[in-house]
Amino acid sequence: MNTMTLYVEKDSPVHHLDPLVKLLYVVAAIALTYILPEPLFIAGVLFVTLLLLLVGKVFRNSLPILTLSLFLIFSLVIVQGFFHPDNVTELFSLGPLVFYEEGLYVALILVLRVLVMIGSFSVLILTTSPDEMVERLIKKGMSPRIGHVILSVLQLIPQMRATTSKITDAQRSRGMETEGSMLTRIKAFFPLMGPVVLNSLNETKERSIALEMRGFGSSMKKTFLNEEKQYPYNKLLGGIIIAIVILGIVWRVMA
């Protein structure tokens, strides 16, 4: 079944890392791009991130994620290059519009940051199954109820998406048009959305009854079916990441 995750099941060293270490890497990588806002340095972080994607055998899978942000990247270069307040040094001009070096520099940093953000997130989400991630977070103290919420969303959305075609069919059978003028299309929104909302709220009632009857409201300490996975080099890797961040801060303060 489609459970709506980007996780790619493969056997790689990155896959075997502790989800929390990968999460720490995401935070550290993004933080570093702010601690040392130099294009060359950020490019270095990006290089490491790309390396991780390659080692994790998921580089190809990260490209579709990147394309979603292409417009943002494009827009950053255009807007900053032409209009950044600090712009002085002209690079080239398009008719009345002038493209500046300062703006390009700002855009370069921004774009590299976006790439690091998307890249490091991709490392995390492409190589970690949501179940593993949530189970790990719960063991580190996250509320099991929140964990339940996250996991159930991943299953419920595909289920809800499946009902949308039934709803569309039912309303079209009653003569509703989904094509035509803007007004026609706006008018179609309620008949389509109404059943989705009512259905899912009604279902929350039934599902909460079912959960209650399975002891979901119990204040007893929960146990887990799956044994805790052991992660090698956990502390070491976590330590290295933190050390690099501290080193970055020290460098920044000293320089």
Binding site: T163, K166, I167, D169, A170, Q171, R172, S173, R174, G175, M176, E177, F190, P191, M193, G194, P195, L198, N199, N202
Partner: protein, 267 residues
Amino acid sequence: MNTFELKDVAFSYSLDIQIFDGLDLTFDSRTTAIVGQNGAGKTTLVKLMKGLLKPSKGTLLIDGDSIDKQTAAQLSRRVGLVFQNPNDQIFKTNVLEEVMFGPLNIGMSRNEAEKAAREALRKVDLESKAEDNPYDLSLSERKLIALSSILAMDTEMIIFDEPTMGQDFAGKEKIKAIIEELHTEGKLVLCILHDMDFAAEVFERTVVMNQGEIILDGPTRDVFSKKEVLEKAYLEQPYVTQIAHALGYDESFIHESELINFLNKND
């Protein structure tokens, strides 16, 4: 409408699984039940008839005229389809408005639509709940609301998908009465059913489907006498028929009264 014909119809959802391949079937003024296991293709069949799906091959004809070019919305004036799950369509906050949605869509004035809606609600005996919120009613009542929302559109043909599921005795009696009334009004009635007893009791003709093919088609009595074929399609005979068998009679009974009369005579 006198006939609804499917000629040499083929359809598949994906390349590897063919649902229909050269299906020929004609519906006429006889009330017709379609029975068969899940996955037999019953719902796909009625979606094709409603224009919600388009066949990859073959034609559909109403009174001999092809309807291949018509959309579901256009067909909604002529063919009504009551879906199995009322929750997939109900979106208004009051029952009357919900039932008026279809009639308004096909161009009735508000007055006409309200009249049609109230009349349809009267038929399902829920006129008193016209101002209620549909979600304050039970699922079985909502099913009847969905049914009346199609009745109100006054189509020449009406198709029901599992109308009796979840209904108690009173609900089934209402549906039976509606089907008989539609029939006397000269409308085409077609009904997908899991409930063999209801099929046996109410319908003149029964079609048995199995894996996209029609394995039995004829007067209801004849169809339900074919125990072996039914078993192949994982279907049971109606209770009356089973009781008759258990008592050692091979004749085919589909109504309680028939069996009672027969046993009385035999005594």
